[in-house]
């Protein structure tokens, strides 16, 4: 698996102040569990995303630890309060030096 990959963040571009918004974050990653074997019986080593964090104007508002049980191309849908205009940044880190960052802007009315 390469050290970085495509990611997507879907969140509203505009929101009313203090409303609860939904954020969807997805990363392209095989999430090799570490429990699969090759035809000749060799274990395929684990290679997964381990940590997902979301920062809203640089303050962490959500975090998740991923383990082998998370499906490939992991998707996570969560909420946050639209406190102010600014940037929502999501970061994925994992095995083998994997890291991906993406961000979207939000405007509060």
């Amino acid at each position: 698996m390469s050290k970085t990959s495509r990611t997507g963040i879907i969140a509203p571009a505009n929101a009313k102040k203090d409303s609860i918004i939904e954020i969807r974050a997805i990363a392209q990653h095989d999430m090799e569990t570490g429990f699969r074997y090759t035809e000749d019986g060799k274990r395929i080593p684990r290679d997964i995303i381990r940590l997902f964090t979301c920062r809203y104007n640089n303050e962490e508002v959500f975090r998740a630890d991923f383990y082998s049980g998370i499906g490939a191309n992991p998707l996570i849908i969560f909420n946050t309060i639209a406190v102010a205009s600014g940037t929502i940044e999501c970061r994925w880190t994992g095995d083998d030096g994997y890291e991906a960052v993406n961000q979207v802007n939000i405007t509060i009315s």
Binding site: R6, G8, R24, I26, G71, A72, N73
Partner: protein
Amino acid sequence: MKTSPLCKQWLYVLFAIMIAQSVFAAEIAKVNRQSSYQLMTAENQAMQDDPNLNPALFWVMDGHSLWKEKTGNKNVSCASCHGDSGKKMSGVATQFPKILRGKLRTLEGQINQCRASQQDASALAYESKELLALTTFVASQSKGMPIAIQETPLNTKDLQQGKQFFNERMGQLNLSCAQCHQDRAGLKLGGSLIPQGHPTAYPIYRIEWQTMGSLQRRLRNCMSGVRAKQFEYGSTEMAQLELYLMWRARGMPLETPGVRP
């Protein structure tokens, strides 16, 4: 070769039923044709329909990047001839497999042919990330369009051969595609509903594979399921079978990129 006991059990059951009745391998009437999309759960259908949830969209994006990338000894990109956006590929996937310069080509085969002749680049391996990405990108330009394969004097020989493959028994379990996907479509095999087997959504993000895969990969699965010798990737037999399957699905809209369980 180890046999999957569960699979064998259900196919014995099937076999027993078949001996008890006489079977006519008739074609499915056009009006009764159904994409396996209809057999999926609501969650899986949502995954296919919603671009935010469909992992295949990553491959479309990868394909678009490759489309614009200069490659090969001639150092040109697909976009140099066919345009940056890929929109010129609209309708293309609905016409493959087709006869070009006397040879039956699948979409993957044509992409590799273009690479060799126009870009002087090496062929991409079947099921490689790059070939899947390019095929998905090109095919997705035809999303929603009806499959446009017709029987012509040019393709009739290959089409009839493909039809023969579909209808002839194969493998240790001695079953033909038709026996499950024509005669028993809609019935259950081991807890899953048997689809009619129309290739309307390829390449697909198959949940079982946790990645994108081609129609040929799926056909090889089926062949190993009946313990038959699998057709090779890129072979003439594969192309002929693909041609027949696409002809059988003519008029049905293309769903690429699809999601399947």
